[in-house]
Symmetry: C2
Subunit: 202 residues, 2 copies
Amino acid sequence: MKKCRISVLVSGNGTNLEAILKSVEEEDIPGEIVVVISNVEDAYALVRARNHGVEARWVDPKAFPTRADYDRDLVRILSSKQVDLVVLAGYMLLLGPEVLRVFPLRVINLHPALLPSFPGTHGVADALAYGVKVTGVTVHFVDEGLDTGPIIMQEAVAVRGDDGLDALLARIHQVEHRLYPEAVRYFCEGRLRVEGRRVFID
Amino acid sequence: MKKCRISVLVSGNGTNLEAILKSVEEEDIPGEIVVVISNVEDAYALVRARNHGVEARWVDPKAFPTRADYDRDLVRILSSKQVDLVVLAGYMLLLGPEVLRVFPLRVINLHPALLPSFPGTHGVADALAYGVKVTGVTVHFVDEGLDTGPIIMQEAVAVRGDDGLDALLARIHQVEHRLYPEAVRYFCEGRLRVEGRRVFID
């Protein structure tokens, strides 16, 4: 069985990247991370990648006249590495159609809420402000909308009466670090089947 | 401690009414159901109420020139019965400001999804069609929006790979029949504290 070739796109600290790196090293995921790409020069995720002996690149969006040009450069890198799966892990830019059309149903993202509730960049704070009693974590395929693609996995996280943002974030991160490597594993095992908007794990 | 005087508004079968009637009879809820009101003449919920010796009334919306007039008649009945809590249990009309301004934070509703996801009348089918892996049940205070009021309780229900609408509905109903009486109990025990959009159970 051919190993799944994974690229992880990051912008920040990279704790989810770390969880995936660990799962790959422990051979829970039948794949390898062939390149980590950041749009932010000093993202700590780049350091994490290198610490694990994984190639890490900063690609500066400002070096390209348009976002589409930047995305085409990502495609060039991903294609040159023969990437099977693109994993967004705290990547703070929206991927444009230039990438998504070349990698249909091959880009996945993690969202810290139970989509379709609380899309966007403040999923945890928004859930807390709304006053929900249950929020959670979603892993989904990326389409051209904002957090709208077919859902691969979700797990609920209870909001407690005394929860502030930090306490709730901490519990959500715990779930993320378990759920995301599991979703990557299912993808690499070829077990995800998409029918319309529903994703089945065979 | 004065018993909480409850009215339940219904339109259909009334399985949630049945669950609350049972909780009242078993004295889990420190209250009594003083009147059940239906906007539908042949709602089976009316039969259930009478079977438990509870007053059951059909109020025909068509007998009133406007919905506001109908709602004012509801207020007249609820006030004459000195109702503390109005429980919507499969009541298929939107309550207008005529009722809500007289009973602020004293009207509660049950919704078969994790609000704010999938509001409206097809919460379960909509969740299934969207492809979520986690849905659930919400009990909330009713405000003038559609399923937008402060959330009292939520419980997650996992969507299984082979779930059709009936299977998922059955598991959601099980949770409803447990959660709704519990929320009514908290209300009647005076344990619900609302701060902005957050509801705390003391």
